[in-house]
Structure formats: structure tokens, C-alpha cells
């Protein structure tokens, strides 16, 4: 009963997406949206099915997905760790802060050629670039999250005489959890962008490469098939993450 009630808004949310996609289809059908710009959803759906029907495409998708996951996990964990370490060291933090804030203006993949002379080519530089993209968001969020932990909670931890590790495990991380989750969400989205954009620009495998390849070869159907897959994946991770994150956020009375 209770779960049934709380599921209703989620269902309505999904319904809204369905309705919007339906409208898009209608606009395309009556010619309000030129097919030269974006194809109709039904067309894209067919393209997606065609793409997913090939084992090579599934492999490409899986390859990208795997690396997105690896990058998101490393960036997330690493970002939290770095944030935790930097936070109490005031000087270090003051030194890092301006760079953290302006970090995203520099297109990371400019450094790709320089990077592969160090790392070699293949999937490693792609994963590294994605980590580089995501980790800064995680560090920043961790710092903000730790700032948000109230002074009295930090002091309470001290009064209980916790070891630094206990302090992190039992107080800081749980206290910062709701924000850390939103940071992780950012991390996933950056990992997505990092992996697929790197593949698009300079790789030879993965969904991003397939999109670029199809684009270069005027294979519009395949291209939209892959783009559709990427959007669906993005939507699934976003909504999925929302549902996972909802519980701790609600508990903390946001």
C-alpha cells in the first residue's frame, strides 16, 4: 500500500516522458518537425532495434558502458578520498580551489595526444580522461558536502574520541551522504560524457566511435540508432540514480 502510493509519482513522471515522445512523433508525422532535423521517435526506435540486433553493436555498447562504470567508480571513490584528505588541510584547499572551479573550462581532450605518450593507446587513456573529467566534480562536491556537515556534528565526533578512519566511516561519509550521492550522479554523467566524447573524437571503438563513424559515412539510421541507445542509457542511469538516492535524501529531511 505504502510502496504503491510512493510509486505513483514515479509512474506519472514516466508517463510524462511517454507523452512528450508521443507529441514528438505526432509533430514529425504531420510534418511540423522536418525529418531532416530529427527523425520521428518510431524511426529512431527501429534504428535502435536494428543496431541492437547486431552483436558487434552490442559489443560496442557494452564496451562503452563498462568503461563508463569503471571511470565513474574510480572518479567517485577517488574524488571522495581526495576531498576528504584536502578538506581539513586549509592551505592545500585554498591552493586548489581556484583550479577546481575553473577546471571545466579547459577541454581535457586537448591533452589526449600528450596523455597517450605516457599511457599508451587503447581504452586506458579514454578511461583516464573520463576520470579526469568526473573526479573534479566529485572533489568539489565532497568539499561542499563536508562544509555542510554542521560544526556540532564534527565536534561530537571528536568528543567520542573516534580515530580518523572511524570519523570518516561513521560520521563524515554518512553525514555528507545526500550530497555525495548527487556528486556521484554528476560523476556518472561526466563519465558518460568523457567516454563517449573521447570515443567520438579520437578512438576506434565504442558507441561514440560508432556514432562518429556512422556520421562520417552518412549512415543516418545507424547514427540515430546509437544516439537513441545513448539517450536511453543516460535516462535509465539518471532515473535509476534518482530512485536510489531518494531514500537517504528524504531521511535527512531535505
Amino acid at each position: 500500500m505504502k510502496t504503491g502510493l510512493t510509486a505513483i509519482p514515479y509512474a506519472l513522471r514516466l508517463l510524462l516522458i511517454v507523452v512528450l515522445v508521443g507529441l514528438w512523433q505526432v509533430f514529425c508525422s504531420i510534418g511540423l518537425l522536418g525529418t531532416g532535423i530529427v527523425p520521428a521517435p518510431v524511426t529512431i526506435w527501429h534504428d535502435m532495434c536494428a543496431v541492437m540486433g547486431q552483436s558487434a553493436s552490442r559489443a560496442a555498447l557494452w564496451l562503452s558502458l563498462r568503461d563508463i562504470l569503471i571511470a565513474a567508480l574510480i572518479a567517485g571513490a577517488g574524488g571522495i578520498a581526495v576531498g576528504m584528505i584536502v578538506h581539513p588541510i586549509r592551505l592545500l584547499r585554498a591552493a586548489l580551489e581556484p583550479y577546481l572551479a575553473s577546471y571545466y573550462a579547459v577541454p581535457t581532450f586537448i591533452f589526449y595526444p600528450a596523455l597517450i605518450t605516457v599511457t599508451g593507446s587503447g581504452r586506458l587513456p579514454i578511461i583516464l580522461i573520463s576520470i579526469m573529467l568526473g573526479i573534479v566534480a566529485m572533489i568539489t562536491t565532497t568539499l561542499t558536502a563536508l562544509d555542510g556537515v554542521s560544526r556540532s556534528i564534527v565536534r561530537t565526533a571528536r568528543v567520542f574520541g573516534l580515530t580518523p578512519l572511524q570519523n570518516v566511516m561513521y560520521v563524515r561519509i554518512p553525514a555528507a551522504a545526500p550530497m555525495l550521492l548527487s556528486g556521484l550522479r554528476l560523476c556518472v554523467s561526466y563519465a558518460f560524457i568523457g567516454v563517449i566524447a573521447s570515443e567520438f573524437i579520437m578512438s576506434d571503438a565504442g558507441v561514440g566511435y560508432q556514432i562518429a563513424y556512422a556520421y562520417d559515412n552518412f549512415d543516418t539510421d545507424t547514427m540515430y540508432g546509437y544516439i537513441g541507445c545513448v539517450v536511453v542509457l543516460a535516462a535509465a542511469t539518471t532515473l535509476g540514480f534518482d530512485m536510489i538516492a531518494a531514500e537517504p535524501v528524504k531521511r535527512e529531511g531535505a
Binding site: S152, I153, R158, A177, P248, G253
Partner: protein, 270 residues
């Protein structure tokens, strides 16, 4: 031991303690002192004073959370370095852990200390009853009112059975009637455990009603301008309010405070 249960053995000694802060803009704030104060083992001492006079600062020094800028702070004859064992503190602000249920909040310190499960469970049960939190044991702090949350913090401190309890305006979030009841509970607890209690409060009634001694602090930089012995017996509760001595004590601490406040008001309009 005197007849009211307190001893003459010093538990805490402050000698010419001072505290200063540097503000972010580089200014210097003289927040406290110089201040001399001796807390006798087993006594119940309250501190009252205008807001911002340095009461919380004083507690930070006693609990080892901050080192004084000048002077000495001794616990059982030893200089206080870091948070000493056996000191419990309840902060002025809400310090409940939002990610834990009420019972897990209360058990937190016990678990970290590695007590036996049974022992933890027993102590938590007792604290839940004691603080009137039984119905909320599985609630999260965000589902409680500010007053309830403060009770959780008090319970979390008391289950550790500290021998020195520092309370910073613990009932600030409660309504007056609940404050009175909680005060009675605190007195009972104090008698049962023989702990030394230092209570900081804004409420003169509370200070007069509960304490063996009351310290009155000046406006910032806070110094002790009066130290009043109430002379209540160890067995007492909020009914002392009706004793004639109560009014005398109240006016005895009210006079210097009123002077301080007026002085302050005047200064602010200068």
C-alpha cells in the same frame, strides 16, 4: 563530603584562562577571561551570562576541543590536552546524527567503544525511557521536533556514563514546562551517578533551581563577576521554586545581570 553530596576535591581548575579569536578579516576578538574557576567533584554548577559572553568558548576549553590562549585548564590536576576520557558534552546546537535512527544515535558512542551487545541494548532501553523517546526509537531526527532532537543528544551523551557532564544550553529548544520536567530528570540522574555537572543556561530560574552554585559572567570578554552558593540539599526538585530563598537567589543573580545588560544596551546605542 559535605552534606549535599559535593566534595572539596577539585575536579576542574581554571587559572587565569583567556581565549582570543582571529576573525577572517584579520581582527582580534578577546572572547573570554581572564577567568578563574574551580569545579568541585560531584557538584552541580551553572553558568549564566549575556549571550556572546564566551560561555560556549569556556566549555570548549573544558572539553579539550580548544586550547586556551592564555592560562591553564586542569582536569583532575592534569592539564587538559585533547578530549579527556569520561567527559560528556551536549552542544548548544543540534548535533544528532541525521542518518541514524533515534536508538542508533543513542547507541553510537557505546558501539564505537565496543561494549557488549546486551549491555548496549540495556543502556539504550533505559535512556529511551528516561528521555521519553520510546515511541520514536525508530524515527530519524528529521522527523522530530528540535526539542526531541536535543533529548536524543542528551541521551547519547548520558549513556556513556561520563563523570564530568558539560551541558551547553541543552534545553534551549524546549518549552518551559518541558524544561522544568527535564531539569528534574537531570537532578535525579546527577544524584544517581555522582557525576560533576556544569550547566550553561540562559534561564535564571533553571540555574537557581538546579545548581549547588551559580556563576554569573560579564559581557564579552566574559569574566566571572559573581559566584553564588544556593545551599539546596542534594535531594531537591523543581518545587524549590516555592521556597522564599528562591526569590532571594533570583534577585541576587538578576541584579548584576541587569546592570550588564543595561550597560550593553547603552553601549550599542552609543
Amino acid at each position: 563530603m559535605t552534606e549535599n553530596g559535593q566534595t572539596d576535591v577539585p575536579c576542574v581548575e581554571l587559572r587565569q584562562v583567556e581565549q582570543r579569536f582571529t576573525t577572517r578579516k584579520g581582527g582580534n576578538v578577546h572572547a573570554l577571561g581572564p577567568l578563574d574557576l574551580t569545579l568541585r567533584r560531584g557538584e552541580f554548577l551553572s553558568i549564566v551570562g549575556p549571550s556572546g559572553c564566551g560561555k560556549s568558548t569556556l566549555l570548549d576549553i573544558l572539553s579539550g576541543l580548544a586550547r586556551p590562549a592564555a592560562g591553564q585548564a586542569l582536569l583532575n590536576g592534569q592539564p587538559i590536552r585533547g578530549v579527556p576520557d569520561g567527559v560528556g558534552i551536549v552542544f548548544q546546537e543540534d548535533a544528532s546524527f541525521g542518518w541514524l535512527t533515534v536508538e542508533n544515535n543513542i547507541a553510537f558512542g557505546l558501539k564505537r567503544r565496543g561494549l557488549a551487545r546486551d549491555d548496549i541494548a540495556a543502556r539504550v532501553e533505559h535512556a529511551l525511557d528516561f528521555m521519553g523517546l520510546r515511541r520514536f526509537r525508530t524515527s530519524y531526527p528529521s522527523q522530530l521536533s528540535g526539542g526531541m532532537r536535543q533529548r536524543v543528544c542528551i541521551a547519547r551523551t548520558l549513556v556513556m556514563r561520563p563523570s564530568l557532564i558539560l551541558l551547553d544550553e541543552p534545553f534551549g529548544a524546549l518549552d518551559q514546562q518541558t524544561r522544568l520536567l527535564m531539569g528534574d530528570e537531570l537532578l535525579r540522574l546527577w544524584r544517581e551517578t555522582n557525576a560533576t555537572i556544569l550547566l550553561i543556561t540562559h534561564s535564571l530560574d533553571e540555574a537557581v533551581m538546579l545548581s549547588d552554585r551559580i556563576g554569573v559572567m560579564s559581557a564579552r570578554p566574559g569574566r566571572l563577576i559573581k559566584l553564588v552558593e544556593t545551599g539546596w540539599p542534594r535531594e531537591r526538585d523543581s518545587t524549590v521554586v516555592s521556597s522564599p530563598h528562591y526569590g532571594d537567589l533570583l534577585s541576587e543573580i538578576w541584579a548584576p545581570l541587569r546592570a550588564e545588560s543595561n550597560h550593553h544596551m547603552a553601549a550599542n546605542n552609543a
